[in-house]
Every structure is written in C-alpha cells, then in structure tokens.
C-alpha cells in the first residue's frame, strides 16, 4: 500500500509538470484552433531567463526570497513577451490562411527559438539553482515526497482554480469564450479579438514560464532542448484530455502521469511510453475528440 501511495505521488508530480505546459497548448488551440508548437520553447526560455536572473541577483547578494520572487516575475514577463511576439510575427499574419500554414509557421518558430538559445547561450547542460528550498516541516516525509514535488503540485492546483475563475467569471474570460466560439460574431458584438488572442498567448506563456522555473529547479539542470521533450508529452496530455478544454488538459495530464508512474512501478520503465501511448490510442478510438473535448466536424 505504501508503494502504491509513493507511485501515486510520483505520478502526481509528473502530472502537474505536464499540466502546467499542457494548459498553454490547450488555451491557444481552444481560441484559434492552432497547435502552438513553439510553446515548449517558451517554457525553455522561461527556465533560461530564471537561470540568468537568479544568478545575477545572487551575485548582488539579494536575500533568498527576493531572488525567488524576482526570478519568477522576470521569467513570466520575459516569456510572455516572447509568446506575444511569436503570435504577432508568426501567427497573426496567417489568421485567414489555410490551417496548415500557421502550423508550419509554429514548427518553424519552435526550431528557430531552439537554435537561437543554442547559439546565444550554450549547448551544454547547465546547473540550475534550487529555487525551491527544502522545507524543514517536510523532513519527516522527505523519503516519500520532496518539497519541490509539493510546491509543483500546489502551484498546479492554484493555477487550475484561478484559471477556471478567470474564464468563468471575468469580462476577459467571457470575451475569450466568445472568441473561441465564433470570431466574427465576437467582433460584431464589439470584442477586440486580436487583443483577446494576445491575452491568451500571454497567459499561456506565463504558465509555461512558471512551469519552466519550477521544473528546472526540480530536476536541477537545463539545456536548449528541454522544451521539445516536455512539450511533446504535454501536448499528448492535452490531446488525451480533449484539446481546447482546460479541465481536459488537467485530466489528460493526470491520466498520462499516473499511467507512466504505475507502468514503471508495477511493470517496467522500459514500457512506460508503450503504456502511455497505447492508452492514448485507446481513448482516441472511443472518444476521438479526447476525454472532455467537444467533437465538431471540421476540414483539416
């Protein structure tokens, strides 16, 4: 039983990591029907920004909590700026183009950003400082769940609640829902659709930045390629839960993370991906739009 709980908690950490990134995919898809492949790179840029800022602040001798707060803030602002700019440069001009064009543009952006960081920074793995401290009160439980696992889990839950509230009860949220249902109609009732899409990218990128800082701090190393791997898994989770649906992104991440964890624990980590993707195929056979996705007839 202990082993089951341990595996469950490991799975939860993984799920939370996937969810933080999957949200960005699903929000953008929900609103403009685009798979933003550059999202993983925004996450990676968030992590790199955090590394640079925290290193500089540490040199100037800032207190630990100031470093953490300023680092997270800087990562969010910087990543959001990237997300917003990518949208303006690579997707907005293609808003009325055939659906494949922005997709290719997204893949191009992803490769561009990866190589940009590779050239501007380094190809080596860099050590990432532990921005999440080892809490004293966690010491008795450290063998089951670490401080960073706990922080990641709590952050994800907080983000989920805030995001749901934002979309359900605020003016912006209302406008987002309207835009996602029908862009032309939304324009007619006076919604600035371009602004709303920009805001969506900013929120998605900010979440990716938070994910980047937390995850890099959890695993203690980063390089230019981390966004790709994490992005692929998060994208899978988003599809599993129903791309375009925010609760779906959480559910998909949860199922993917737990499946991987239990497959590793009870079968073998050699088969971790086999189980995860077999499950994906099975679910898509019975629910082609994902668990919580709305099925609609579309030409791709």
């Amino acid at each position: 039983m202990d082993y089951f709980i341990e595996l469950f908690l490991s799975g939860l950490t993984r799920s939370s990591i996937y969810a933080l990134i999957a949200l960005g995919y699903t929000m953008v898809y929900g609103i403009i029907g685009l798979i933003n492949f550059a999202h993983g790179e925004i996450y990676m840029i968030g992590a790199f920004t955090a590394l640079i800022v925290s290193t500089v602040l540490a040199i100037y001798g800032f207190p630990f909590f100031a470093i953490v707060a300023l680092t997270v803030l800087a990562a969010i602002i910087w990543s959001s700026a990237y997300g917003y700019t990518v949208e303006k440069i690579a997707y907005k001009p293609l808003r009325n183009a055939p659906r494949l064009s922005p997709l290719i543009s997204a893949i191009g952006m992803s490769i561009f950003l990866q190589n940009y960081v590779l050239l501007a920074q380094t190809s080596d793995f860099l050590p990432f400082p532990a921005l999440i401290p080892e809490f004293q009160f966690m010491e008795p439980y450290a063998h089951i769940i670490g401080s960073s696992d706990l922080v990641i889990l709590l952050t994800t839950i907080t983000v989920m609640v805030l995001l749901t509230l934002l979309i359900k009860y605020t003016k912006t949220g209302q406008a987002m829902r309207a835009t996602s249902q029908d862009k032309k109609m939304a324009m007619l009732v006076g919604i600035n659709v371009d602004k709303i899409i920009g805001i969506t990218f900013i929120i998605g990128s900010a979440l990716a930045a938070i994910g980047g800082v937390l995850i890099a701090s959890h695993i203690g190393q980063i390089n230019f390629y981390i966004g790709f791997i994490a992005g692929i898994k998060a994208f899978t989770a988003a599809v599993l839960g129903g791309i375009g649906s925010i609760p779906g992104a959480f559910l998909g991440s949860l199922i993917l993370g737990l499946t991987e964890s239990f497959a590793t624990g009870y079968v073998s980590s050699d088969y971790e991906d086999v189980f995860a993707f077999s499950l994906l195929v099975l679910i898509l056979i019975f629910r082609p739009a994902g668990l919580l996705g709305k099925s609609s007839i579309e030409k791709v």
Partner: protein
C-alpha cells in the same frame, strides 16, 4: 559558446579555401581526419580529442612532418549522432582522407565504420567502447585506444562485489547503444559471480522530466547499489532525486558520467558517486608533458579522453612513419605489429583492434572532484 558573425565565417572560409588549395598545389601532405562530437550535448567528450590531435600534429609538423611530408588535418563534427556520422564519413572519404582519428560515441562510430571499411580507411577511436566494434570481427579497419565496455562493466561489478561488498544490485540503463550494452555486461558478470543478486534491470527514458517512479522501485527492492549505464544528464537527475528522497543507495556508473559536468550539475548530491574511467596515467612522462603543454596552449586542464586521443594520434602517426606510406594494409599491419610509446605506456594493437595495456580504474567524487580509489 561564441557567436560567430557571418562575415568572419565567410572570410575564414575564403581563407581556409586558399590555404587548402595552396597546400594541395604545393607539396604532398599526409591527410588525417578527426571526427567526433564537436558541438551539441556531448561536445565536451569530443573537443579534447581535437586539441590532442592538433598538439601531436603541430609538434610533428614543426619537426618537418612524417618522412618529410606535412600533416594536414580534416576536422569534422558528427554531433554524436549516427545519422550525421555517416555524412561525416562520406565527406572525409571524398576529401581523400583514409586515416581517421574518431569517432567519439559508439553509436556514431558503428554507423560510420562500414563506410570507412569499404573505402579502405583506418579508424582509431579514442573513446568508442562498444565491445562489438572489435569483437565482432566485422571491422578489420578499426582500432581503439580505450578498453571496451565489457572491461568497464567488469571493473564496475568487481568493485561493487569485492570492495563495496554489496549484495543487492539494481542495474539501470538509458536504452542507448552505450548504456544498455554496458548494463547487459554488468548483468552477465553479476550473474556469473554468484555473489550478488540483481533485484532490478530496467531502462529509463532519456530526457524525461522526472524519474521518481523508478527510484521508488529501487527503494522497494532494497537495492544496496545502483549500477547505471548511460551519460551524465540522466545520472545527475537520478542521483539528485535519490538523495532528495534520503536514499543512501550507492551509485556506480561509467565513463559517460565521469565528467566534470556531472559534478557541476549534481552539485552536493554528486558526493560519493563512483564512476569508472580510463586508468590514471599521470605518472607517465609522455602524459605529463602532454598535459603541461595543453595547459600552456589552452590555459586549462585537458578534458575527457584527452590521453586516449593523444595515444591514438601518436600510434597512428608512428604507424604511418614506420610504414612510410598511408597505404591501408601497410599501416594496419604496422599498428598490429609495432609497439609504440604513448600516454598509456608502451602499447600495440591485437588482431581485433583493441589496445593491449589500456584498462579502467574506479573513481569517486570527493569534495567536488573525481579521485581515483582503485
């Protein structure tokens, strides 16, 4: 990494082209290729080889070259990827190079070897440790100045069982050519020894965000030690997460982990980790001279496989000199029959291409440095 302005790149290409054509039209040269990972994740394994070969060749050229011919180097990057390595090999062959020092990673070497064999080119790798490369007998053109993985696995297992006296061992690998090969040899040797039990044998997915599930499993099976086959990025994630879960399980790994980047990334969690690496040869006068010169030229200590590459360069240039040609058969025979003094002492190559007299030692991280313990 420096950003290179396009204009400099352009000028340097022009410059390189003009110097190349000068030498081509001038006197005949001995062409030696250097292939390996010079950029990407694993560049830190490949670049020291370039430095080592350059140092050996510069010295020879200053003395008038080999039998009066200057040596010309062709340096090609394979980023440690098999699919790139085949291009690298084809490119070297098409430039008329038939003496190659490289490649660095086993997977890339394996992919490139058939091309070199068919073109009758001699290949000496300073670091490709996959046993099949020599033991399969498929590549009579291949030599190496490093012991193969089974020798490395042998060192790991003997150390774990005889010195550390562990009874339960978890063998973990990264599913790659190098890591899995090593892990399978470790498994075989542990079974043969009959003194310890393998409680877990698993592959993990490289680049994954979290390994806590497999770590829980190691804990559940109460392993005394983990033998890990793979490279440092995964090793540092495993060790860090194990130590954060307050596990004291011993961690024993290979020369893919015996790299200073591992210590830099894993930080305090790296303490106490064991890793095998090429034997310490700091007592050898050739090695001492080579290291000192490297410090003088590059203002830093040499990196991974530097001594192996230095030995490879010495062995190859010596064989070309003895054979007085770059003929495939002549150089191959000379490598097999003539002793040569290298950074590892006097060595020669056996019929399969492995060097006699090059082995592995065990190192441990102590106070942020790898220290030889056996």
């Amino acid at each position: 990494m420096n950003r290179i302005k396009p204009v400099y790149l352009f000028l340097s290409i022009i410059f390189a082209l003009t110097t190349l054509s000068n030498s081509a039209f001038g006197t005949e040269t001995v062409k030696i290729g250097v292939a390996g990972a010079h950029s990407g994740n694993l560049a830190s394994y490949g670049l020291p080889t370039v430095n080592a070969v350059k140092m050996v060749v510069d010295k020879l050229n200053a003395k008038g070259g080999i039998n009066g011919k200057q040596i010309e180097l062709f340096i090609e990057d394979d980023v440690c990827k098999p699919e790139v390595a085949t291009n690298t090999a084809t490119k070297l062959i098409s430039q008329g190079v038939n003496m190659i020092i490289g490649h660095i990673c086993s997977g890339a070497t394996k992919a490139a070897l058939p091309i070199y064999r068919d073109a009758k080119a001699i290949v000496i790798s300073p670091s490709a440790t996959n046993p099949d490369l020599t033991q399969s007998g498929d590549y009579p053109n291949f030599f190496r100045t490093i012991a193969s993985d089974d020798a490395q696995a042998r060192t790991e297992v003997d150390f774990a069982i005889d010195v550390l006296q562990v009874k339960k061992i978890a063998v973990i690998h990264d599913k790659g050519d190098y890591g899995k090969g090593l892990a399978e040899f470790a498994q075989k040797f542990i079974k043969e020894s009959d003194k310890a039990e393998i409680v877990l044998f698993e592959g993990i997915t490289p680049d994954a965000v979290d390994y806590s599930a497999v770590i829980q499993k190691i804990k559940r099976f109460k392993a005394d030690a983990v033998i890990f086959g793979g490279y440092h990025p995964e090793a540092s994630k495993l060790v860090t997460q194990m130590r954060k879960k307050r596990m004291k399980t011993l961690f024993i790994s290979d020369d893919g982990v015996k790299d200073d980047t591992f210590i830099k990334v894993a930080g305090k969690y790296a303490e106490g980790v064991y890793a095998t690496g090429p034997a310490d040869v700091s007592g050898n006068p050739i090695t001492q001279a080579a290291r000192e010169e490297h410090k003088k030229v590059y203002n830093e200590s040499p990196g991974a496989f530097f001594e192996n590459a230095y030995a490879a360069a010495l062995a190859l240039t010596n064989a070309i000199e003895q054979a007085n040609s770059t003929d495939y058969d002549a150089v191959g025979n000379t490598l097999r029959t003539h002793d040569v003094a290298t950074t590892f002492g006097t060595i020669h190559f056996d019929a399969k291409g492995d060097a006699t007299g090059i082995g592995f030692s065990m190192y441990q991280v102590q106070d942020g440095k790898y220290v030889q313990v056996q």
